[in-house]
């Protein structure tokens, strides 16, 4: 079942470290239990995000690849 998306973050075209910086900032503002969707194109994010979620305790609900080389990640705030 698809989660309801509370916030969307577009980091397409950006490269390390900007996606993770923007994500960290966006997640800070989010209330606990809310869900954020991030769209990006940096392959590095795939690896960074897993370790970041492990560390912060946020949950990576879904990751998928859309058309045109865009990665989509759905993250739930702890």
């Amino acid at each position: 079942m698809e989660e309801k998306i509370d916030e969307s973050l577009d980091v397409k075209g950006l490269t390390c470290p900007m996606p993770m910086l923007k994500l960290s900032k966006a997640m800070k503002k989010l209330e606990s239990g809310k869900v954020l969707e991030m769209l990006g194109t940096d392959p590095g994010t795939k690896t960074d995000l897993h370790s970041w979620c492990d560390k912060t305790g946020n949950t990576l609900l879904d990751e998928s690849e859309l058309e045109g080389g865009v990665f989509r990640f759905v993250i739930k705030k702890k």
Partner: protein
Amino acid sequence: MEQESNKSALSQLFQTFFLKHWPVWVGGILLGVLNVFLFMIKSPWGGSGGYNNWGENIYQALGFFGIENVTPTSASLYGMLNILIILGAFVGALLAKEFALRIPPIGELIKGFIGGGLMAIGAKLGLGCTIGGFFSGVPALSGGAILLTVGLFLGTLVALKYLMWEMEHLPGISSGKTKTLLAASRGQGAWQKWLGFIVVIIAIIIAYSYFGNNDIMGWFVIIGLMLGLICQRSRFCIVASFRDPFMTGKSSSTIGIIAGLLIGLIGFTIIKQFGIGAGDIALRSRELTWVFPNFWLRAPIGGFIFGLGMTIAGGCAVGTLWRFGEGQVKLWAAALGFLLLSPIAKNFIEPGFVKLLPHSTNFRNFMPDYIGYIWSVIIVLAILLIWYLFVKWNERTGKFSAY
């Protein structure tokens, strides 16, 4: 049946390399080994010299600044090495179907160019970049390399503060129109794999054309291709190794770099102590290989400027190359800034800067001259161990992490 299982064995091998990214420490160890190979053949890995060669060739062709008698890139070991690193990363990205032209907002392109320019200036003033000055310089037991590292660290921290400030106060710089072209998502893009194999064949032909009359270059071409591929697959990033503990607290990049330094330290020390590969040159000049005359103030000042540049650009000398090959257009701007500014820094900034510093410009600080090989190695090992313990502790506690 037999053919089937052979095929699946090959596809298994392919998946091992190209389905997922490798742990950074795997990349670090492999890069450390290849760095030792480069030193055995000729001299260790370096990055900024190659950019400078590209820039000087361009200025010579345009007739700017009276720059002449430049070594053509096809005859420049480090100029070629850098080209092959780009090709190797291109291959890595293609075979993993990760290649795409990723065009960032214009503000990011400008940051890339400025970052590249700062790296060029820092590398000229400090006589070394993150590769030659740090990743090779520290294992070369150069006292100046330790100081350069301190400068790189401080530069990275200041630039990270800037990036966080920029995000709060000038978010427009990193937002705006972006474009992604040629991506191979969702089962499409088999062409990327084929092109990857074609590029490998081209690189082998280039290497082959050198063997016989310039064997050193032949090996530099092959090793360069491998360096680029390994960097791309393991996302080996020296900026991240300095920055991440203070950003998200992640320690994996730092540990990867430490692994590479450790291998380099053992290999380089053996080569220097025994004078392996000295050939016609004296043992002493073998010992002093990659011990640059940047002790004392040149190294930290240059390192600081380089640290600022690489953090703003989002890639150091080599990080810029492999992300270039992966299709990150921001790093194309960084490479352009680097190669255009490098000859300018060499001819117009470096001479005046050196006069300002009160020390001999030819002095090389080789640590074993003062404390012997054993203690030099012990000291570097101790620094690496403390660094490792710090990033692991910080990852656990988040004491120094911004997020």
